[in-house]
Amino acid sequence: MKLRDIRDKTAIAGVGNTPFGALYKKRDPRRNAYTLGLEAFENALEDSGLRKEDIDGVIMSRIPSYSKMCVMAGIKNPRLTNVLEAEGRMSGIALQYAAMAVYTGMANVVACIYGNDGWSAGATYGSEPQMIDSYNSPFGMTSPGASLALMWQRHMHEYGTTAEDLGVLAISQRKFASMNLNAVMRTPLTMDQYMKSRYICYPLRIYDYCLINDGGVCLIVTSAERAKDCKKRPVYIMATGQAANHTPYYHAPDYGWNAMKLVADQVYTMAGVGPGEIDCAQIYDNFLPTVMLSLEGYGFCPKGESGRWIRGGRIELGGELPVNTSGGHCSESYMQGWALHAEAVRQLRGECGDRQVKDCEIVQYICSSPICSSHILRR
């Protein structure tokens, strides 16, 4: 069956989140995925101008029980209910599923809800007993960060990229975060500080790793028609797509590019635009090499060229392609792609204050992980 033309048929009508920087100041054991998700849901509802009774679909992630969440939010009989794994790759998938549900009429207004209490709960992302396996743990191998370290080491070997290249990206994202009152890490970073920072898994340093912090995000998706009657201007979903990269390890010798190519072909065709027409990009940065591999995988620059390409202000405010304008996961907040979606919406609405990209009309979201996903959104 041919892929249907869903371009501009659905829209994001509301976004909401919790504070990030303020919550990072102090751990609080009473905070959990439900309370954080609920607060984000209330804020998204308020932002959209919709009523709770309008919600007839819910898709959540990192929230253990959909039933408990819906009871707390008073969503009694939604026509669509699902909970996705607590993985960052699921944020883009949640939006894709919501758009499909709205497009087919299986639901009219879908709330996508995410809550993350990793900071208060003491998440370590690598030391958990359930991560022990026979083929990696006996050698001390663990955590997706180490897999990205393996891929970046290989990339440097094959293409001559460098540690400083990641530094350029880290500094740029931190600069954006300094213009974001809600960001967790707002103090500007210098190359000297970056290069002297400690290694987590060589060749990656602490600044190449995402933060661990608490927060919640909610996105409300409805039809383009209905979104026009909501409080804020609609953000239309021009295109969305995913392609998985199911391999035995988190690292893959092809850098995930085969899957990225499938997604890129789908979203650029569906949207009718190419990389050159994207005004700003929100690119999943669980670890900074993921951004570099994505820039190359989606054709913003040739393979192996990302290190040179991002220099000279190209990815900063006023540059050709501002990247991760909120500060991303490494400086704003590790909301596993969810806050990057919120930032995309706010950039398109012109709500980003000091860090607002001028004349921002088209934004691309990209997440490159064992399931690659992307959307192209417009105002």
């Binding site: 030391s127 006996p138 050698f139 001390g140 180490a146 370290a149 393996l150 290694y199 987590i200 690292h251």
Partner: protein, 142 residues
Amino acid sequence: MTQYTKPLPTPDDFDKPYWTALKKHELRMQKCVDCGEIWFPPTPVCPACLSHNHEWIKLSGKGKIWSWVFFHQLYFPSFSDEIPYNVVAVKLDEGPLMTSNMVECKNEDIRCDMRVEVFFDDVTDLVTLPKFRPDGSAKPGS
């Protein structure tokens, strides 16, 4: 002898032959009788053609380092004395990629694409782990 405290494999029904072979200092992996696919980690059927007919063939134990890292962050307390320790991803000559450690080689001498050979590390009475060392470093008679 001090007790071995690092994580150990937990063999299951279908990967037991892999661990049993290592104990005998052989690196064996599954090869599909029908289509010739060699794959790792072990799974019940051939992932290429879903055939149930496979044999555990003995591999050359040779390959090259696809990539490598050093762990500075401590995730497993049992590795605390070795930080920073190396982890390598070895591309075997027969195709599969496997995670391991380099031994008989200084961390700073590890390189991408360097030729390596398997080294059977009897870490406990019951478990042998496949580690790697620079190719050709086996001493005569060992």
